[in-house]
């Protein structure tokens, strides 16, 4: 979707907080929220891309101003309400009855040591043929999809070169909708000068991992 989250190349945001202290968390609640997300039981219809899409759907003002883990909180709360495991009133009150919607069992403390090493793969066996090969020139599609998608606005319609092929990976656009589709995935290098007028004459590039349906022949 053409949402507020698609920030690449936007101007006017100002300076980066380069003096931020290096410790992983700056408030106890941040660590708590991350731990909670990793440990909670969840309904069967959630996925990483549904989570990302639900975060993209936060009100644009909140997206730019609420703290990062607070946005995670609101996203998980929204997913819980949508899946029917809790109501807004229950979350606001911090109490409620067990939901009728089944969820996976909550993680036990003893399971954290194996869970922290669990690896989730996104490549899939697929008969979808690769339409491009390394070295091919491609052009990113000129418009985005209105649902969840991972084609940022700043490369749309721009010409790039395939620099790597990764086999078929789960397509986020479909995964966000609960559909299992995989597509060939490529790393595409775009010359900075192709993307930004002020980069004329520079040799720099921006490299993105893009699915086949995001790309056309140039």
């Amino acid at each position: 979707m053409d949402g507020i989250h698609d920030l690449g190349g936007r101007q006017g945001f100002g300076l980066i907080d380069v003096d931020e202290p290096e410790q992983p968390f700056h408030h106890p609640w941040e660590a708590r929220l991350l731990g909670l997300v990793r440990a909670m039981g969840r309904p069967g219809d959630w996925s990483i891309d549904w989570f990302r899409h639900c975060r993209e759907l936060i009100d644009p003002v909140d997206y730019l101003t609420r703290p990062y883990y607070d946005q995670w909180l609101q996203t998980y709360a929204a997913m819980m309400v949508k899946s029917g495991v809790a109501t807004v009133a229950e979350i606001a009150a911090g109490t409620g009855k067990p939901s009728a919607v089944p969820t996976s069992p909550p993680m036990k403390p003893a399971d954290v040591d194996s869970a922290k090493r669990a690896v989730v793969r996104f490549d899939r066996d697929s008969r979808a043929a690769a339409a491009f090969k390394v070295g091919d020139a491609v052009r990113a599609k000129g418009h985005g999809a209105s649902g969840h998608t991972r084609l940022p606005a700043y490369v749309r319609g721009r010409r790039g070169d395939i620099v790597a092929y990764h086999g078929a990976h789960v397509l986020p656009d479909a995964n966000a909708l609960g559909e299992a589709t995989a597509e060939p995935l490529y790393t595409v290098a775009f010359a900075a000068a192709e993307l930004w007028p002020e980069a004329a004459g520079r040799r720099d590039s921006v490299r993105l991992d893009l699915w086949q349906s995001y790309l056309d022949r140039p």
Binding site: L7, G8, R10, Q11, I16, D17, V18, E22, H27, A31, R32, L34, G35, L36, A39, M40, R42, D45, R52, H53, L57, D59, D62, L64, R66, Y69, D70, L73, A77, A78, V81, K82, V85, E90, I91, A93, G94, K97, P106, P109, V112, R117, A118, V119, V120, F122, D123, R150, P152, Y154, H169, G178, A192, L195, A199, D204, S205, V206, L208, D209
Partner: protein
């Protein structure tokens, strides 16, 4: 199966905005207690995860990976070939490490990593990302003006160095392998690992100092 309906989610967000406390700490308390009340959460498992991400899984892991690549050519080759597999040697595999990709700086190439669409980061080897990495200024600017961003971090690139910005749009996660500093011949892996900073593995630092870290 829930219908994945964006308009419904937007309506729920508005309702949550209206009814949840504004203070983040209070919001987290409320969410934790509703999850416990519903039998969906064991708070002691949360405690364990907090320990893991506060003390165990952090940039010291990535530093070890980099230092090993410096001293062991066979490991370097395997790291550049399939970093997700190579780090299993050290037991560092985990969240988002399946499709880890190591990209190496050279005298003429500088790599820098971002996620413009959200906050994708190689957590298994660097721990949780800094707030600036997830914030609008970095995400907006680094794809467009990497030289200006590096300058803000105190990095002046030598003339003729090509910048490669990696925007993590899929499930690949990028780890920058900085150059080994001159004058470290014969150093042990442990001593080398102490030189490698988080920012150098994101790409917002380039030349690793041998003495105490940079002062800005």
């Amino acid at each position: 199966m829930t219908k994945h309906d964006p308009a419904a989610i937007q309506a729920i967000h508005r309702e949550l905005h209206e009814h949840l406390p504004s203070d983040s700490a209070l919001r987290v308390k409320a969410l934790e207690s509703v999850l416990v009340a519903k039998g969906m959460l064991d708070p002691e498992a949360v405690d364990r995860w907090v320990e893991v991400y506060s003390e165990e899984i952090g940039p010291k892991r990535g530093a070890r990976v980099v230092a090993r690549a410096w001293v062991e050519p066979a490991f370097r080759a395997r790291l550049l070939e399939d970093a997700g597999k190579a780090i299993e040697d050290i037991g560092f595999e985990g969240w988002a490490s399946a499709h880890l990709k190591a990209v190496e700086n050279t005298g003429v190439i500088h790599n820098i990593v971002v996620c413009t669409l959200c906050s994708c980061y190689p957590i298994a080897v660097l721990g949780v990302p800094p707030t600036w990495y997830k914030s609008a200024p970095y995400r907006a600017r680094v794809v467009r003006d990497p030289v200006g961003v590096l300058d803000e971090f105190g990095v002046r690139l030598p003339e003729g160095v090509e910048v490669r910005v990696w925007d993590s749009t899929a499930e690949l996660r990028y780890l920058v392998v900085p150059q080994r500093p001159a004058g470290t011949e014969g150093w042990s892996l442990e001593r080398l690992a102490r030189l490698v900073t988080r920012d150098a593995m994101i790409g917002t630092e380039r030349d690793l100092p041998l003495g105490p870290g940079k002062a800005r």
